[in-house]
């Protein structure tokens, strides 16, 4: 029986593409266990485990699978379009444990009776895409993928598709559009992809990390998985730590761990902590009060934030928050897909005003106008991307508005720091 209960334990192999080594180290135990189960049982196990999607929304995975259970030949898509700034945990998994993801996909396919899967990987990960193709070939040669998997009569194939470099395509509906060869615009929900997805067929879209949890749950049991982490958000979670921490990187800790402890894992904050951004650029920027926040989906929602992808960016007092504002707004302007007017034009104006402020030519009334612009975008943007700009923006203005306002009038920030 496999003792490995965490993703990072599968990520220690020197040659991650060596299938034999993966199996030797406990790989494909989950699939073997799954082969003995019915689809209903598999969905039941995932539901029992309490696994929630690791991509950002935290939707219960078992429930998602169940919603396509009655569908004929649904598609399975692995969302590897990891575009959230400060997030690099999917990259870590795909680089270090590609077979774990393929195994997870195969189990998911068994559960929902899918015969074709896709890994949609961001264009910025070309090396990984190549390695994934190799891993797929090897898994097929080894009988773990393709026709008649493990001579069990079940067939499932996976193809890798490389994105063109758009953040919005990380949204599952935009991803499906891109996968079908369309422009990566988001689609209206409902219908949800599980009702009408890829080429109009029911489609399950799961994040890389979510799928990587699946073999572990199958091998160790739902109870083992759910015994760790928060009660309504169990399991381990990969956190991407960057910014002013001593040792940036990916850390795996139970769901519900406090921000303080996660930062300590990364060697602690360098300098004096000023702000923390949690969940990615589309999440709020908190002050040091966030050190005591618990990192799971419901807890973060309670404090007005979001766990998102599990990205944590520490910002120390050397940073001018006007520059954080500029970098954040530039990101939104560069990544707006252009489909809807509020986001297309709103991000452009927010970017312009933030840049003027950072360059020392801002106007005092910009801050109010930025808030009002964000309100228009919250009310009328087509997809969550345009609506989410308000989170970092209003949190910056609420928490650091005085500093930014004073920078606009005095441009005094650097002087103060030096003094």
């Amino acid at each position: 029986m496999n003792e490995k209960t965490r993703i990072t334990q599968f990520a220690e192999l020197e040659a991650p593409l060596d299938l034999a080594k993966y199996i030797e180290s406990g790989g494909y135990q989950g699939l073997l266990a799954a082969m003995a189960k019915t689809p209903d049982e598999l969905i039941g196990i995932i539901k029992d485990s309490g696994l929630r999607g690791r991509g950002g929304a935290g939707f219960p995975t078992g429930q998602k699978w169940e919603s396509v259970a009655a569908a004929k030949e649904p598609y399975l898509v692995c969302n590897a379009d990891e575009g959230e700034p400060g997030t690099f945990k999917d990259r870590f998994i795909l680089e270090k444990a590609p077979y774990l993801v393929l195994e997870g996909m195969t189990i998911a396919a068994l559960a929902i009776d899918a015969h074709q899967g896709y890994i949609y990987i961001r264009g910025e990960y070309p090396e990984i895409a190549k390695n994934l193709a190799t891993a797929i070939e090897k898994a097929k040669a080894g009988g773990y993928l393709g026709n008649d998997i493990l001579t069990n009569g079940f067939s499932f194939d996976v193809a890798v598709r490389v994105g063109g470099g758009s953040y919005v395509v990380g949204d599952e509906t935009a991803l499906l559009n891109s996968l079908m060869g369309n422009r990566g615009y988001p689609m209206l929900k409902p219908p949800f992809p599980t009702e009408k997805g890829l080429w109009e067929k029911p489609t399950v879209v799961n994040n890389v990390e979510t799928l990587a949890c699946v073999p572990i749950i199958l091998a160790c049991g739902a109870t083992a998985f759910s015994s760790v982490g928060s009660r309504d958000c169990p399991g381990y979670k990969l956190f991407s730590l960057s910014g002013h921490v001593a040792t940036p990187g990916v850390y795996e800790l139970p769901m519900g761990t406090k921000v303080r402890e996660v930062l300590e894992k990364a060697g602690g904050v360098t300098g004096t902590l000023k702000a923390i951004q949690i969940g990615g650029t589309a999440g709020p920027i908190f002050g040091p009060v966030a050190l005591d926040y618990c990192l799971d989906f419901p807890s973060m929602r309670k404090v007005g934030g979001a766990l998102g992808s599990g990205a944590i960016v520490a910002i120390n007092t050397s940073v001018n928050m006007a520059h954080v504002l500029e970098v954040t707004m530039r990101f939104f302007a560069q990544e707006s897909c252009g489909h809807c007017f509020p986001c297309r034009y709103g991000t452009r104006q927010l970017d312009y005003m933030a840049r003027r402020i950072a360059l020392g030519s801002g106007r005092a009334d910009y801050l109010d106008l930025m808030r009002e612009t964000a309100a228009v975008m919250v009310g009328a943007s087509f997809c969550p991307f345009g609506q989410s700009v308000a989170l970092p923006l209003t949190s910056l203005l609420d928490g650091f508005g005085d500093e930014i306002a004073s920078f606009i009038t005095e441009q005094d920030y650097l002087k103060e720091v030096e003094a």
Partner: protein
């Protein structure tokens, strides 16, 4: 099934699946929008149409949200008005503030909403996009500085017309609509149908104007300006002057053209009758020879570029007839020059067309039967209306005038050329009588009329069941062509004769017609054409005395060598996407 809901306190009952935006209209509430058009798919891009639904968080786009039983909807709360004003300010900050010089001034949907929401000043700093204006096309100008990215043109070009010459490029605020690979419209697969112009809410896509050149020709005492007017113009131009769509204005048009100084007034309807003689003869010849079938009409220049680009294998099926515009142009520079004794070099051949593709057609190098251009300038219905306004002509009050006595007489068959199915109906009236020697009892081929995309009929010509079809809109053309190709691969017969018009409904809905130019309006114009047809004393092209006369006097007989030299043409394959 219908659903009952409340909109701003009004109880309304609408069929299930009605959008909230349409449901509101039944309560006499016009929810503002910049991207929604009744003829097209809702896009949900502009965000202007948001509404509040009781019990639901946030706002919903009323264009893409269906009415549900028991809903209570609010369309104009203070918050909603603020958001709408905010969106308009954001759009206007990026939009050139040159409304007074803009071709869409007074007809611009953005301008209308800016006025409606009283956007008097902008809190945002304006910025210029600094993009160059694409004038590479003979028919259509593309100015992306003015584009608001609604996506209507992309849908009409890609989905309705299946030409897909333009698509979104770039991302976010840099999004524009453009042909691929940085090409200009003139170097793309664009067929110049101008449907993008019809649906553009702002001045980002518009006809390439030739008004200045025409004024210069009119004002040049050495030049004799000769005009021809297409069938579909006469039932649409009145809209530019407050008259009803479909109202027949041909007498006023003749009068107005003379009033602005045009020397000679002919009518494209004459050459439409002539086209029937030539094309009808071609059909009867093919029937005698046993093919190739189907014979496909060639009067719609957008269609011609489409088939040259996408279906070069079918070029042999096309009628060799020039379009009525080009036939009359060729006759003006030869027959009329000879008869009037005017040096053809001093004749300026002007045509008034419902169409932007006619500009491209007139410019095709081979369209020079006399050695000079068959047609020198093509003005759209909208452009000639502008000239009338410049000249101060009170069009609606004009007394009707007559055209010049030659190259202008026409039958009912000619006037229905402006309707999808009309060329086919006209051809059948003549072909039947010429082939059978009998008089056609019922002239109205109603199965070929109306706005349906593909229409079919069968006619008995001396025992041969002749199967015909008429398609309008290039997406429908594509369906018919694929069917024809499929049948011919399987060795099965399809049709004997097919009419194709590039624009939905035919020329009445052409890219040069008065705006707005939606499908409902096109139907009124169709009715106007059929009404004129019904009221004319002669309704069959072969009965046109002037047509008989020009054959006797000048052309010989239909399909003669001279007719071929002047009235027929050829086609060649073009590069695709």
């Amino acid at each position: 099934m219908s659903v009952l809901l409340t909109i701003d306190g009004n109880r309304v009952s609408v069929p299930a699946h009605t959008s909230l935006l349409d449901a509101a209209l039944t309560a006499h509430i016009s929810i503002p929008t910049l991207c929604r058009h009744e003829d097209l798919q809702p896009k949900g891009s502009c965000g202007m149409c948001i509404v509040k639904i009781n019990g639901q968080p946030g706002f919903k786009r009323s264009c893409v949200t269906e009415a549900e039983e028991g809903m209570s909807v609010f369309t104009s709360t203070p918050e909603i008005r603020d958001i709408r004003r905010g969106i308009l300010e954001l759009v206007l900050a990026a939009h050139p503030a040159d409304c007074l010089q803009c071709i869409k001034h007074g007809k611009c949907e953005l301008q209308t909403l800016a006025e409606r929401f009283e956007i008097r000043d902008l809190r945002y700093d304006r910025y210029a996009r600094g993009l160059s204006v694409d004038k590479s096309s003979k028919g259509i100008v593309r100015d992306m500085n003015k584009c608001i990215g609604c996506g209507r043109c992309v849908e009409i070009c890609g989905e309705t017309q299946t030409v897909a010459s333009i698509f979104f490029r770039n991302r976010g605020a840099d999004t524009i609509v453009a042909p691929p690979f940085g090409k200009g419209m003139g170097d793309s697969v664009c067929v110049n149908c101008g449907q993008c112009v019809v649906y553009c809410p702002v001045g980002a896509l518009y006809e390439r104007e030739q008004i200045d050149e025409v004024w210069k020709a009119i004002d040049d005492p050495r030049k004799t300006v000769v005009v021809q007017i297409a069938p579909a113009v006469r039932v649409a131009i009145g809209e530019e002057f407050g008259l009803k769509p479909g109202e027949l204005c041909i007498g006023k048009l003749y009068a107005a053209l003379r009033a602005i100084g045009v020397d000679v007034v002919f009518d494209t309807n004459f050459s439409a009758d002539l086209t029937i003689m030539e094309e009808g003869t071609e059909l009867l010849e093919r029937i005698a020879k046993g093919g190739p079938f189907p014979l496909i009409t060639s009067c719609s220049p957008g269609w011609i570029k489409f088939v040259e680009t996408f279906y070069p294998d079918l070029l042999g099926n096309l009628s060799s007839c020039k379009s009525p515009q080009q036939m009359l142009g060729a006759l003006i520079k030869t027959y009329y020059a000879e008869r009037s004794g005017i040096d053809p070099a001093n004749l300026v051949s002007l045509s008034v067309m419902p169409c932007t593709a006619k500009k491209f057609e007139a410019d095709r190098p081979e369209m020079n039967a006399s050695g000079l251009r068959d047609v020198d300038y093509v003005l759209t219905t909208r452009e000639i209306a502008r000239m009338f306004r410049q000249a101060g002509i009170v069009f609606a009050d004009l007394s009707e005038k007559e055209p010049d006595p030659i190259l202008s007489g026409y039958t009912g068959s000619a006037t229905i050329f402006g309707a999808s199915g009309g060329v086919m109906e006209a051809a059948l009236r003549t072909a039947y009588e010429l082939a059978t020697g009998k008089t056609l009892e019922r002239l109205d081929f109603t199965q070929l009329r109306g706005m349906r995309g593909v229409k079919e009929a069968e006619v008995d010509l001396n025992g041969l069941k002749v199967r015909v079809a008429a398609a309008s809109g290039l997406g429908n053309a594509r369906k018919v062509l694929d069917m024809i190709s499929g049948s011919s691969h399987r060795g099965e017969p399809s049709y004997h004769f097919v009419e194709i018009m590039a624009c939905t409904g035919g020329c009445v809905g052409g890219g040069g017609q008065p705006l707005p130019n939606g499908l409902a309006k096109r139907e009124c114009r169709l009715e106007g054409l059929y009404a004129e047809d019904r009221g004319l004393p002669l309704r069959k092209s072969h009965e046109n005395p002037e047509v008989k006369g020009i054959y006797a006097e000048f052309l010989g007989k239909p399909g003669s060598e001279r007719a071929h030299k002047l009235l027929h043409t050829g086609y060649s394959a073009r590069e695709g996407w």
